[in-house]
């Protein structure tokens, strides 16, 4: 079987390469002809004003991505095209542009210049220079993201953006979107940040082609106020690449990756399982001394162990049977970027294909990304542009589990009883756990989701000629997404050995008895347009900028669902082929429309680049709320003082940049269900008098006529600077966020005797969220050795100040004062090792020796709900950190990126299961040192243990440090590649989730949330090639 796997992998690589060839051919034809420039070799030396050599200077051919870096002695060489212009730049120095003409040696002197520290950062509806930025905005460039071979871009963000918590809870191809939080959890409602891609709230950020991304910014403080009512959880702004003036640069990348789970659980083998199950059965029966037949006899346990009868007494390692040693993933990208004075363009095409990690499983993921971004200067003052992208994506899974249930697959692997056979020695497949043998998944149909979102933005920018500094920008965006989701289930069969007849009986599996198809077609559209007036002016030392805009957004969603069963055959998987009996079909469908209307603006003022002021606002309207409370005003102010510009700092040469800044803003959150102010009824809750359908109607939640925005007030103070020309860069930010009017339901305080059909959200909660972020970096060159180290740590802790609580409850159980998401647990204190211990301490009535000892916290002599307490940590880490090393020596480069988290706990509700159900296997970790009659000093509870509820015995510290990414590259020397017309060629090997050090959770991946039954995170090992020409 192994062989077939490998050959399958080989075939798919070959197939992939064939595709690559085709794509290349098409692309080359498409852009051919544009090539054909003469090449000249330039060399020289770069010095400082005082004559010192300057190593590490960036030399770039203007309008291209062609570049070089100066050596320890300041020398460089670069091959450039005709009529090239070279740009020399180095952090802390003024850059210089030099026309090459017919020179072949160019020596340059650079002088220190503070303004050249300038890095442009994307903010809401604009860009700002980093040094005059007054808000808390984290940012990462696309170049850093492409270093990760992970298929999902968002998972590469972990640790890269200080203040962003990224937790990937599943590695399943196509279902691997991580949870993203900005500065932890500020509300117990929806904590999702607003994601804006190229100016429009858009989904599928994880599916972007990383090669298309220019930068990602995260607005963490009042700077998000310009996005008003949806921005309280922070805003992630993704900007894709645009054209660049210059000859076309083609960039081709191919990556081949091999993936395997980061951690595979070690489950009990058959004899251990049988032993543990026997113990459980014996405890259940009341530990009878006589007249007891264990479910598995001693001989049976022996036979499981010795493997003498693999048919009757198999010992199945389900993980080994069902999980492939590795799976594969390919990514191929080709892009072209260039432009003239009037037109510039960025064109890109990318593809990802990834197959699943399970044997005989239809899981497969395919994605194609296309992007065209063109800007045209129509007249001297008018520029128009279009940014069109499409994402074709095809997710295929086994038919058994829906998105929410994908853990089921792992229940049938991890928890499958090892005494059940997976495959008989003669090759026939056994039933597996409850007839759900994972090796039969390929016989059971599929669950397929195909979506083809198209994102379009059309922009116009008009420089008003008669008023200097006034610009009008407008954009119209239309996104459309069609998704077809199909669940096709087919009957499947397995064999079961009959010990009496000694025959292998063919049996139908538990799934469907005849094929059935369930199909849902959904269409979404988003129309968004805005118009913005921009004005900026510098008068003497006063700089003014103003932005005023209006924006409207309209969303539409429509879905239709069709279902038929009892297909005559599985040959045709189309609705029409199903049975036309009315009892065999079902349909459904509905429409949702939503809209936003708003006005926003920003005013900037700075004096001499020293004193910085900013005011921004949004007046936002949402159809989710009643007319009276529909609009909200969300302002933000911020200020900065650049100490480094002051004369008194002039003597401190080593200080290149130093800034204190602060901000305050009020932002809204409306991520709740719409129309909660109306009492409405939905169809459903039918009844069946006489066996026929009588339609019913169901009351929706009670109306809350006063529902309105949740608001967040954010205060943020930061200190940032650059010392020793980049020898040390730092940024330290503290923040305090106050959420109020949090939309929550009074579910726990309102008596059920009222019988309300469901309570609406009300603006009742308050949460305070505080924390800090620290970023340090160091950039240096030692001869041909360059390095850049950047580290960041972010801390955020929320505290519920008011939440709907069970009235009159004991204080320890209250949410107030605890972080958002804090769970309720009993406190465990070891186990009852002896009968005396059990007898002398309060316990639940069915507790036995060997059970968890629960602390009687209120000392009332009994264990019940009053002994619970609210735990101070959650599965959302309080500390997240990242540490990045970029090292380069000659043509070699190495990137190491570590990422981790602490102050985080995970409650594993699956872990305690041991010997209770005949078909739930347990981990070796759990069974080791369990209490038994023969091991009375055991530290872990007995098999079939009982507990009053979730307790700290199974709450584990999820602290970890990961080597998240590593990349080692080698660039071919210029003289080799220039001959074949390449400007750059680089080979690299890389990996993600390469190594993990976990503090306590050593049996599973520590990034889990909840039980271990889920598709594990994947380790990716990758080889790649990048060519520019």
């Amino acid at each position: 079987m192994k062989e077939s796997l490998y050959s399958k992998g080989y075939r798919s690589i070959k197939k992939q390469l064939y595709h690559v060839r085709n794509y290349l051919a098409v692309f080359l034809v498409f852009v051919g002809g544009l090539q054909g420039y003469a090449q000249t070799q330039i060399s020289g030396v770069v010095k400082e004003e005082n004559g010192d050599f300057l190593p590490g200077v960036n030399i770039l051919e203007k309008g291209t991505l062609n570049g070089a870096i100066s050596d320890i002695d300041g020398s460089y060489s670069i091959t450039v095209g005709e009529s090239a212009v070279l740009i020399f730049s180095f952090i802390g120095y003024g850059s210089k542009e030099i026309v090459v003409g017919n020179q072949s040696e160019i020596n340059v002197e650079l002088s220190p210049d503070m303004t050249s520290l300038s890095e442009v950062i994307v903010v809401g509806y604009g860009e700002q220079r980093k040094e005059t930025l007054t808000g808390s905005v984290a940012n990462v460039s696309g170049d850093d993201l492409v270093k990760s071979p992970a298929a999902n871009v968002t998972s590469s963000l972990a640790g890269r953006l200080p203040g962003l918590t990224v937790n990937q809870r599943s590695g399943e191809p196509g279902r691997d979107d991580p949870n993203i939080l900005i500065r932890g959890s500020g509300t117990f409602g929806n904590n999702s940040p607003l994601i804006i891609i190229d100016g429009v709230p858009r989904s599928q950020i994880g599916r972007l082609n990383p090669e298309d991304i220019e930068s990602i910014s995260v607005l963490k403080d009042a700077s998000a106020a310009i996005y008003g009512a949806r921005a309280a959880n922070g805003v992630i702004l993704v900007t894709t690449k645009a054209g660049q003036k210059g000859k076309p640069v083609f960039n081709f990348t191919i990556n081949q990756s091999f993936l395997q789970p980061t951690k595979i659980l070690d489950m009990l083998d058959a004899s251990e399982f049988a032993q543990v199950y026997n113990e459980g059965a014996w405890y259940r029966a009341g530990r009878p001394e006589t007249n007891w037949t264990p479910p598995f006899s001693q001989e049976a346990i022996q036979r499981y162990a010795d493997g003498s009868d693999p048919v009757r007494y198999p010992n199945t390692d389900w993980v080994k049977e069902a999980v492939k040693p590795y799976s594969t993933q390919q990514r191929i990208n080709l892009s072209a970027r260039g432009g003239s004075d009037d037109v510039n363009y960025f064109l890109s095409f990318g593809t990802v294909s990834q197959n699943g990690n399970l044997v005989n499983d239809p899981t497969e993921y395919r994605q194609y990304n296309m992007r065209v971004n063109v800007n045209v200067n129509l007249t001297e003052n008018l520029t128009v542009g279009a940014n069109l992208s499409a994402l074709l994506n095809n997710q295929n899974f086994g038919s058994v589990a829906t998105d929410e249930e994908s853990w089921v697959n792992f229940k049938n692997i991890y928890q499958a009883n090892p005494t059940l056979i997976a495959q008989y020695p003669n090759g026939l497949y056994g039933p597996g756990r409850l007839g759900e043998n994972p090796l039969l998944m390929d016989q059971r149909g599929y669950f397929n989701r195909e979506s083809s979102p198209m994102f379009s933005s059309f922009t116009a920018s008009y420089q008003v000629p008669f008023l200097e500094g006034l610009k009008i920008d407008a954009s119209y965006n239309y996104d459309i997404n069609n998704q077809v989701q199909r669940r096709w289930r087919t009957p499947y069969f397995f064999h079961e050995f009959n010990t009496v007849t000694e025959e292998y009986e063919r049996r139908q599996g538990t799934g469907v008895s005849a094929p059935e198809l369930s199909q849902t077609n959904t269409k979404w559209t988003t129309k968004l347009y805005n118009i913005r007036l921009n004005y900026s002016r510098t008068i003497d030392k006063h700089y003014f900028a103003a932005l005023l805009g209006t924006e409207q957004q309209e969303n539409y969603e429509n879905w239709v669902h069709a279902f038929r069963r009892n297909f005559v055959s599985s040959a045709i998987d189309q609705i029409d082929a199903g049975s036309s009996d009315t009892n065999d079909m079902n349909t459904g469908g509905s429409t949702r429309i939503s809209g936003y209307n708003n006005y926003f603006g920003r005013l900037n003022y700075d004096y001499d680049g020293k004193y910085l002021l900013e005011f921004l606002f949004r007046y936002d309207g949402s159809q989710k709320f009643p007319k009276e409370s529909r609009y909200g005003f969300f302002p933000g102010v911020s200020a900065g003082w650049r100490l480094s510009e002051e004369p008194f700092m002039a003597d401190l040469d080593f200080v290149n940049q130093l800034k204190i800044r602060g901000s305050y803003g009020k932002i809204g959150n409306d991520f709740v269900a719409a129309y909660q102010h109306l009492q409405a009824f939905t169809f459903g809750n039918n009844y069946y008098f006489g066996g026929n359908v009588s339609p019913g109607v169901n009351p929706g939640v009670l109306p809350n006529r006063n529902i309105t925005w949740e608001t967040s007030e954010k205060v943020d103070i930061g200190l940032e600077g650059v010392l020793w020309q980049g020898g040390l860069g730092f940024e330290f930010v503290v923040f305090n966020e106050q959420r109020s009017d949090i939309l929550a339901r009074r579910n726990v305080s309102v008596s059920n005797v009222y019988g309300y059909p469901g309570l609406p959200d009300e603006n009742i909660g308050r949460v305070r969220n505080r924390g800090f972020e620290l970023i340090l970096n160091r950039k240096r060159s030692l001869g041909e050795f360059n390095y850049n180290i950047a580290g960041n740590v972010a801390f955020a802790r929320s505290e519920i100040q008011f939440m709907d609580e069970v009235p009159n409850d004991i204080a320890d159980k209250n949410l107030t004062g605890r972080p958002v998401g804090a769970g309720l647990y009993y406190q465990a204190d070891g186990i009852f090792n002896t009968q005396e211990e059990l007898d002398s301490y309060p316990h639940i009535s069915n507790a036995q020796v060997g059970d968890v000892r629960i602390v009687d916290r209120n000392n009332d002599g009994q264990i019940n709900g009053d002994d619970q307490f609210r735990f101070n940590y959650t599965a959302t880490p309080e500390y997240v950190f990242g540490l990045n090393f970029d090292l380069a020596y000659k043509n070699f480069d190495l990137n190491l990126f570590f990422q981790g988290q602490t102050n985080v706990y995970n409650y594993d509700e699956r872990y305690p299961d041991l010997g209770t159900a005949a078909f739930d296997n347990a981990t070796v970790e759990r069974a080791t040192d369990r209490w038994t009659v023969d091991n009375p000093n055991g530290t872990k509870p007995r098999a079939d243990g009982v507990e009053p509820g979730a307790n700290t015995m199974w709450l584990f510290d999820a602290t970890f440090v990961r080597l998240k990414n590593v990349e080692f590259g080698y660039s071919l020397p210029d003289h080799l590649i220039s001959r074949i017309g390449f400007s750059d060629a680089r080979f690299y090997v890389s990996g993600s989730n390469v190594l993990t050090w976990s503090k306590e959770i050593k049996w599973a991946d520590p990034e889990a949330s909840g039980g271990f039954l889920y598709y594990p995170q994947l380790r990716t090992m990758n080889v790649g090639l990048n060519v520019k020409f």
Partner: protein, 564 residues
């Protein structure tokens, strides 16, 4: 020129801005005004009230909380047999839990439906709302309100009687009414409803499943029987038995008769003619309208789940209580010791022959034939072979070595997870009324009538009548046992052992299964009882606790004793 075009364009765009786009009506729901203004929607609202009626075809059938089945799990409904029931875990028995929780923790759903009914009744009091047969709809709603209060009463004892709907933000202090007040309320409601209800719908009628006069009378019979029982009748008021007898008597000659076949009584689709059923929860084969009881409860042979976690396998305790075909109980209890009744002819090494035919109709056992398949639950002494239905073959074959047969379809109905099963959940049937009557009469000292009605029940399956020599306590035991056998798995046992106040004895007995060892060469089988579960029943468990948090938010509501 160019410029002016651009300005025009900008103006046009600006003019397009308006907040009209925020005035969007929801497309996926109906407004409240629409509902009460449209007769069809009013009827739809009324129809949905019936979903307050529970049925037992859930993943966790209530039998798992009784000595009818061996329930191997220690969570969810397993907290009852293991005695772990507390006020902070009782919600795992909620009827809205995915397992159905045996429908035990019905507090929340019950009051939700009571509120819906109250709203309906308040709206119908408005004379401007015109609906045809308004009185009948109102009467049906009143029946449902009474029934729901009864469901709450049997679970919790006296509960708050709620007859009006409250708006959000209402500040009502609820307190528990007494048991007597609750019974009185139920009786009054039913008596008010009866005149406006339809007398009866035949089982094949399109309206079957609606509340009728007979359904109301049957509820009255059960409620008054419970009211007279020791748990509810602490003062031992004999007059209550008389009222129970009277209520049952009304239905004895109301045109119903015992269905001739004890098997097909339970496993025919909704709509099949049947003269025994009085009130049922109907099902339909349309999507969402059916249940999966056969797949939930049969065993691995059919790819079914044995009651999920194999936890609805009938217990040896139940099997032991089926009489021999000669009418004699298998076991007698001289001085409380379980001893084989020599008169019964029971052979412990051939235990399944000559038993009450209801045994075959309720339980699949080793050697039984169901749908033409011979079930085999044995294991060979050397462990080299085992019957296909033994626990050694699969964890979904119940360890007790018995599988539920009652409700399970006969040949002709496919067995699969896709098959829509629509046999109705019987709530009231004539058989129960006979037993109610027999019990009330017994308690009133009319032993002859008691024996007569027990014998009528037994006659359906050709069991000999209860001889007139059986009297007093012995007759009480036969009466109790008849109810256990006749109504097995129909959600009676749980309530009966409580209202008789015998649960402290019965529910503290361990659950047994049967080990069957078969010698493969001789084919000879040996049977031995095996203790599978030690059970704990504490006195407090006569009532369910109210969820701890519900007590905290209702200072006026007292927790049931023992759960504080």
């Amino acid at each position: 020129m160019k410029k002016s075009i651009i300005y025009l364009f900008i103006l046009a765009v600006l003019a397009g801005c308006s907040d009209d786009i925020l005035d969007v009506q929801p497309q996926d729901r109906v407004s409240e005004e629409a509902v009460w203004g449209d007769e069809n929607l009013i009827r739809a609202y009324h129809t949905s009230l019936y979903n307050g009626v529970l049925h037992g075809f859930k993943i966790h059938m209530l039998s798992k909380a009784t000595d009818e089945a061996f329930n191997a799990i220690n969570f969810d409904i397993g907290i009852i047999p293991t005695g772990a029931l507390r006020a902070d875990n009782v919600t795992s028995l909620s009827d809205t839990h995915w397992t159905g929780g045996g429908g035990l923790y019905y507090w929340n759903t019950g009051y939700q439906y009571i509120r819906r009914i109250n709203i309906f009744l308040e709206k119908m009091a408005d004379p401007t709302i015109v609906v045809s047969e308004k009185e009948k709809l109102v009467a049906e709603a009143k029946f449902l309100r009474a029934y729901i209060h009864f469901l709450l009463l049997e679970r919790f004892g006296g509960v708050p009687i709620v007859t009006e709907s409250y708006e959000l933000g209402a500040d009502q202090s609820f307190s528990r009414n007494s048991i007597d007040e609750c019974f009185e309320f139920i009786e009054t409601e039913l008596n008010e409803a009866i005149p406006d209800l339809e007398k009866r719908y035949a089982a094949s009628d399109a309206n079957f499943g609606r509340a009728t006069q007979d359904a109301a009378q049957a509820l009255l019979s059960r409620a008054l029987l419970y009211a007279a029982s020791p748990l509810f009748n602490e003062s031992g008021d004999q007059g209550k038995w008389q009222r129970a007898a009277d209520a049952a008597e009304v239905l004895l000659n109301a045109g119903y008769s015992l269905h001739e076949d004890y098997t097909t009584l339970f496993n025919q689709p909704t709509g099949t003619a049947n003269n025994e059923m009085i009130f049922v929860r109907p099902f339909s084969s349309s999507p969402g309208g059916f249940h999966s009881a056969p797949m939930d409860n049969l065993n691995r042979r059919y790819g079914a789940y044995g009651g999920w976690w194999a936890s609805n396998g009938p217990s040896q305790n139940l099997v032991d209580d089926y009489d021999m075909i000669n009418g004699e109980p298998v076991f007698i209890y001289p001085n409380g010791v379980k001893t084989i009744n020599p008169a019964s002819g029971y052979d412990p090494q051939n235990p399944y022959v000559n038993r009450d035919p209801r045994f075959d109709a309720t339980v699949i056992y080793d050697g039984a034939t169901y749908r033409g398949d011979k079930f085999e639950m044995w294991v060979a002494p050397d462990g080299e072979s085992w019957g296909f239905d033994s626990y050694r073959q699969s964890g979904d074959n119940p360890r007790s070595n018995y599988v539920l047969r009652k409700f399970m379809p006969d040949e002709g109905t496919p067995l699969s997870w896709q098959q829509p099963y629509t046999n109705p959940w019987i709530i009231f049937r004539l058989g129960e009324i006979y037993l109610n009557y027999a019990e009330a009469k017994f308690e009133l000292g009319d032993e002859e009538t008691c024996r007569e009605y027990l014998s009528k029940i037994r006659a359906r399956v050709n069991m000999p009548p209860i001889p007139s020599t059986v009297t007093g306590e012995e007759l009480r035991q036969r009466l109790y046992n008849e109810r256990r056998i006749e109504l097995a798995f129909e959600e009676h046992r749980y309530w009966d052992v409580r209202r008789w106040k015998i649960a402290e004895t019965v529910e503290n007995q361990p659950i047994f299964g049967m080990d069957i060892i078969r010698n493969p060469s001789t084919g000879e089988k040996t049977y031995s009882r095996i203790q599978l579960l030690s059970r704990i029943f504490e006195e407090k468990m006569y009532w369910l606790p109210i969820e701890q948090n519900e007590i905290l938010r209702n200072q006026g509501i007292q927790q049931n004793p023992g759960y504080e």
